[in-house]
């Protein structure tokens, strides 16, 4: 156990130093994932008319929560892994006595640690721009989630990150066989984009559409953690069971694909 923690800490140290040298890119990535803030503009303005079931303050709060969830669940392992395979740099990593997946996972955490200050600044900016988000309005009270809600939200974010990581890493492993896996995964990302509640809260979906997407893993990646962070009621049990179940299934598939991929990789003499 101590050997493991030592190893992970060493990984984190070097990845954090590396990520610090990439701080300009990380700033740009933070800006590049600002879609929830664009949708915040659209939906809070739309809610001003009173044509929707939720108030402008609720919309602003929802999309700021989505923004936070989005920031802590950014996964880019597929681009990194595809580069490693195509450029032939994976092979030296395979010689190490540690499965490289730990290195990639730690790199994501290090990158998030580097991005944190930027996220905080952007968050403060949003709260200043939309004061009703925390103050509340006639329809909703101030933004004061209980300790349990925050803990649940953080846990849900971690689960969502894990699921996205395992999902993307499983697709990334296909790079052993096919080229341009990132383009294939883009299709999955589009599903996440439109079905997860990132571009519109599930509350404004027609009832049939809402029920349908709730059977997919996507809303649990964004809408569910965001609802918890808002301090609103959410199907907690169903959420965590769905997230956990998908993580488990994909992890098993991932290990199988990894073994086959390695066999294929060594057979190609790469």
């Amino acid at each position: 156990m101590t050997a493991w923690t030592r190893r992970l800490r060493a990984f984190f140290g070097i990845e954090y130093a590396l990520m610090l040298t990439y701080r300009a890119e990380i700033l740009l990535w933070a800006v590049a994932t600002c879609l929830p803030l664009i949708m915040l503009g659209v939906w809070s303005q739309a809610a001003e008319s009173g044509d929707f079931v939720r108030s402008p303050a609720w919309m602003a709060r929802y999309f700021i929560a989505v923004f936070l969830v989005r920031q802590v669940t950014i996964v880019w392992v597929i681009h990194h892994f595809e580069f490693l395979v195509v450029s032939g740099r994976l092979s030296p990593q395979l010689l190490l006595p540690v499965d490289p997946v730990w290195r990639y996972a730690v790199a994501h955490l290090a990158e998030q640690a580097c991005r944190l200050p930027i996220v905080v600044v952007m968050l403060i900016g949003c709260l200043l721009l939309f004061p009703t988000a925390w103050r509340g309005d006639a329809a909703v009270g101030p933004w004061a989630p209980g300790l349990g809600a925050v803990a649940g939200g953080v846990l849900a974010c971690m689960a969502a990150f894990t699921l996205r990581f395992v999902l993307q890493y499983t697709f990334a492993l296909l790079a052993f066989w096919v080229e341009r896996v990132a383009a294939v995964h883009e299709l999955v990302y589009l599903l996440i984009l439109f079905a997860s509640g990132m571009v519109a809260p599930l509350e404004v979906f027609p009832a049939a559409a809402r029920d349908a997407v709730l059977w997919t893993p996507f809303p649990w990646l964004v809408w569910f953690p965001a609802k918890l962070l808002m301090g609103e009621s959410a199907p907690v049990l169903r959420g965590f069971v769905t997230l956990g179940g998908w993580i488990l299934v994909l992890a098993v598939i991932n290990r199988v694909v990894w073994r086959c991929g390695l066999k294929h990789h060594s057979a190609m003499g790469a």
Binding site: Y22, A24, E25, L28, W29, V31, A32, T33, C34, L35, I38, G41, V42, S44, Q45, A46, S49, D51, F52, L129, V178, E179, R180, A183, V184, E186, L187, L190, L191, L193, F194, V199, A200, V204, F205, P206
Partner: protein, 260 residues
Amino acid sequence: MRRYGKTLCRFWGVSVAAEMEYRANFVISCLTTVLTLGGALFTVGLLFQNGHTPGGYSWPAALTVLGVYTLLDGLQQTLLAPNRAALTEHVRSGTLDFVLLKPMHAQFWLSLRRFSPWGLTDVAGGLALVAYAGWCLGVSPRAALTGGVAVLLGGVILYAVGFLLATLTIWFVKLYNITIAMSALLEAGRYPIQAYPAVYRAFFTAVLPVAFMTSVPAAALRGEAGVWWLVGLAAVSGATFGASCLFWRFALRFYTSASS
């Protein structure tokens, strides 16, 4: 002029030949276009529930904006993004040297060298959407012509802003994904500019001229754009294009090609 035309043909011939190695991409790009358009239509549709009209737009009017956005997004994927990526890659690996040594306008080369046919599915999707919305609205041929020119001018702004930002890599090699950040902000162009709060409207008109890329050309297409908006569009596209040329020439003075 003929030399440039012939070179352009060869450029694109070489690019398409290289892309044909990945023919499965055609299926992927078709699926991507269908999914993106479907998702966007769904999202815009959500805004039209309960009799709501975002920014006072009718459904077909909103579709013109979405159509112009998709069209420009296709242009972006076909020409602009691949060339920006190639430019930053040239700077990173130092092969910009070879481009600069050719007796050819370097900005022409760096803006048009690559051609990725996979973005054409988005161009087609955008055109179809615009055509459908235009048919619903009964757009006059004259408005369609003005709109076509306006869309081209919007494309020029998109190109110029992207090239301007990509030029920054001459100094800051690590800023190579600045254009990714820009593309993300451009997503705002999917929705009519009038559907945003005032702060957003100001930002997307004066700072990052997204309004001039999609909303204004779409209005011209519907024959609703005022003269001053069209003058503004022409001015902004001329100014950004001129700025991109001047800035590029300025940046070259600082190119050290030190990566060797």
